[in-house]
C-alpha cells in the first residue's frame, strides 16, 4: 500500500518528465534530419556527452522524493503537509517508508532515462545503424547507475529540506559535482560526471564499471545517511 501511495504522489511528476523528454528528443530529431550516415556518429557522441547528462540530472532532481513526508503531486511544496503525521501514525518503520518512496522514484527515474535514451532511435533513425540495442542497454544501465548518486543525494536533501529547496539543492549540488569532476583530477572511478557523459558506452564504447560501482556505493551511503536523519527527525 505504501507503493500505491508513492505512485499516487509521483504519477503526475512521472508523466510530466516523460512529456518533458519530448523537448530534447524533438531537438535531436531536428538535428538528425540534417545528419548524414557519416556524421551521425559524431552527433550521437555529442548528444550522449552533453544533452543526455543535463537531462539526466534534471530527471533525478525532479523525481527524487520528499523523504518520508507527503509530497504534493503537481508542485513542490513548502512546509510539512499535515498528512505526514497520518503516515507517521501507521505501524511502519521509517526505513520502510523511506525505502519505498526512494525505490519508486528510482524506478521512475530509470524508466524516464530509458525512454530518453531509446527515444534517440526514434528521433534520429540513422542512429540505429550506429548504436546497437546492446550498446543502448549498456548506456541506459550506465546512466542509471552513475546518476544514482545524484538521485540519492536528492533523497538525502529531501529528508532535511522542503521539497522546493530539495529541488534547487539537488541542481546546485549536481553543478558542484560537475565542477569538481571537470576542474580537479579526481580518480577515474570517482568521475561521475564523465561516467554519465564522455565515458558512457555510446561515446567511449566501454562500460565504466568502476564509476558505476563507486556511484552505487556512494548511493548506498547517501541512502543510509538519509535513513539515519529520517529516523532521528522529529515531526
Amino acid at each position: 500500500m505504501l507503493w500505491l501511495k508513492g505512485w499516487l504522489e509521483t504519477r503526475f511528476r512521472l508523466l510530466f518528465m516523460l512529456a518533458f523528454t519530448a523537448l530534447p528528443l524533438y531537438n535531436m530529431h531536428s538535428a538528425g534530419t540534417h545528419a548524414s550516415a557519416r556524421s551521425v556518429s559524431g552527433l550521437a557522441d555529442g548528444l550522449a556527452s552533453n544533452v543526455i547528462p543535463l537531462f539526466t540530472v534534471m530527471i533525478c532532481a525532479f523525481l527524487a522524493g520528499a523523504g518520508i513526508a507527503t509530497q504534493a503531486p503537481f508542485r513542490t511544496s513548502k512546509g510539512l503537509h499535515g498528512s505526514t503525521l497520518f503516515t507517521l501514525s501507521m505501524p511502519v518503520s521509517r526505513l520502510r517508508l523511506l525505502a519505498v518512496r526512494a525505490g519508486i522514484g528510482w524506478l521512475e527515474t530509470a524508466a524516464v532515462i530509458g525512454v530518453l535514451c531509446c527515444g534517440m532511435w526514434l528521433a534520429i533513425p540513422l542512429l540505429m545503424g550506429v548504436v546497437t540495442p546492446i550498446q543502448m542497454f549498456e548506456q541506459v544501465g550506465t546512466l542509471i547507475a552513475c546518476s544514482s548518486t545524484i538521485y540519492f543525494l536528492s533523497v538525502l536533501l529531501g529528508t532535511v529540506l522542503d521539497d522546493q529547496w530539495r529541488l534547487w539543492g539537488t541542481i546546485l549540488a549536481s553543478a558542484g559535482i560537475w565542477f569538481l569532476c571537470t576542474h580537479f583530477s579526481l580518480p577515474a572511478f570517482a568521475d561521475i560526471a564523465h561516467g554519465i557523459g564522455e565515458r558512457s558506452p555510446i561515446v567511449a564504447h566501454t562500460i565504466p564499471w568502476n564509476v558505476m560501482v563507486f556511484s552505487l556505493g556512494l548511493s548506498a551511503i547517501l541512502f543510509f545517511a538519509a535513513l539515519k536523519i529520517a529516523q532521528r527527525r522529529e515531526y
Binding site: 500500500m1 500505491l4 501511495k5 499516487l8 504522489e9 507527503t70 504534493a72 503531486p73 503537509h81 499535515g82 498528512s83 503525521l85 497520518f86 507517521l88 501514525s89 501507521m90 505501524p91 511502519v92 518503520s93 521509517r94 526505513l95 529516523q231 532521528r232 522529529e234 515531526y235
Partner: protein, 297 residues
Amino acid sequence: MTDFVIETHQLCKSFRDQPALRGLDLQVSAGSIFGFLGRNGAGKTTTIKTLLGLLRADSGSAHVFGVPVTDADSAAGVRSRIGFVTEDKELYPYMTVEQIIRFTRPFFPNWRRDLEQRYLEMFELPKARKIPDLSKGMRSKLMLLLAIARGAELLILDEPTDGLDPAATEDVLRELVSITGSSGITIFFSSHQLSEVELIADHVGIVDQGRMVVSGCLDDMKARYQRVHVVLESGAGPPLRWPEGAESIRQEGRVVSMLCSHNADAIVEQAQSIPGATVERFPVTLKEIFLEHVRSN
C-alpha cells in the same frame, strides 16, 4: 504489571530551549475516557506526539501498553494498537475517501469492516469524493472512521470534534462512549470544548505550562470541588484565614465567593461560625475547575 494504558513519569521536552513539557506525570487507566485539557501551548499535542514516538523526550519516561516509547521505530508496534486523529485533520490530498480506507486497512490486521461500513453510512461519507473536496467536518469524521475501524485498543484523539457541527459532534461523542462501553477501548482525547469533555470523560487531566496540575476521576473531582458563597452581615468581616482548600477567594460587597478544591466541610463550618453569616454551597462545572487551575498557575 500496570493497569495503565498510558503512563508518563517526569516527561520533559523542549524546543530550542523553550520547555514544552516540564516533568509531566500522566496515568490513563485501561477502559477509561480520559479528557486531556489545557490552554493553547500547554503541552497537549507535544504529549500526544511523544506517546506516538513522533517526538523524543529529553528526559523522563513514557510507556504505552507498558512498552517504553523512546523513538519512532520503537513505537511502531505500539502504533499498531492505536487509532490517532491529528489536530489538523489533514489526509492525502490525492486520494478519495475509498482509496484512503483501502490504503489504511492492510496495516491493521484487526481492521473492523463492520465499523467501517457503519461509520461510512452514519457519517454519510461519499466514497468517491477526493479528500480536498471534503469539508473540515467531513475530514474529521473520516479520520475518526480510520482511527476507530483499525480495531485499536487505544484511541488518541487531538481535538476530535473540531470542525463538526453540533449534530455531528453529538453523534461522534455518542459513538465514542458506545465503543468504549462495548469493546473496552481506552480513549485519550484533548479538547478545548469543556462541555464535551464533561459529557463523556470519566477521567480528566489538566495540563498547564507542561505540567499536570490536576488529574483524576471527574466525578470525584466534581464532588471534591465546591463553590461556597458566604453572605456576611452588615459590618461583619470574613475571617483572616480560611482553612486549607479555600481558593480563588473574592469579595464583592457583603458576598464572599470561593472555590473549595477540598476540605469543603471545614470551610463551610468556619463560614457558619461567623455571626449572622448565610452560607450556601454549589456544585461546580469542569470549566470552573479548569479556569481556577490555569489562572492560578
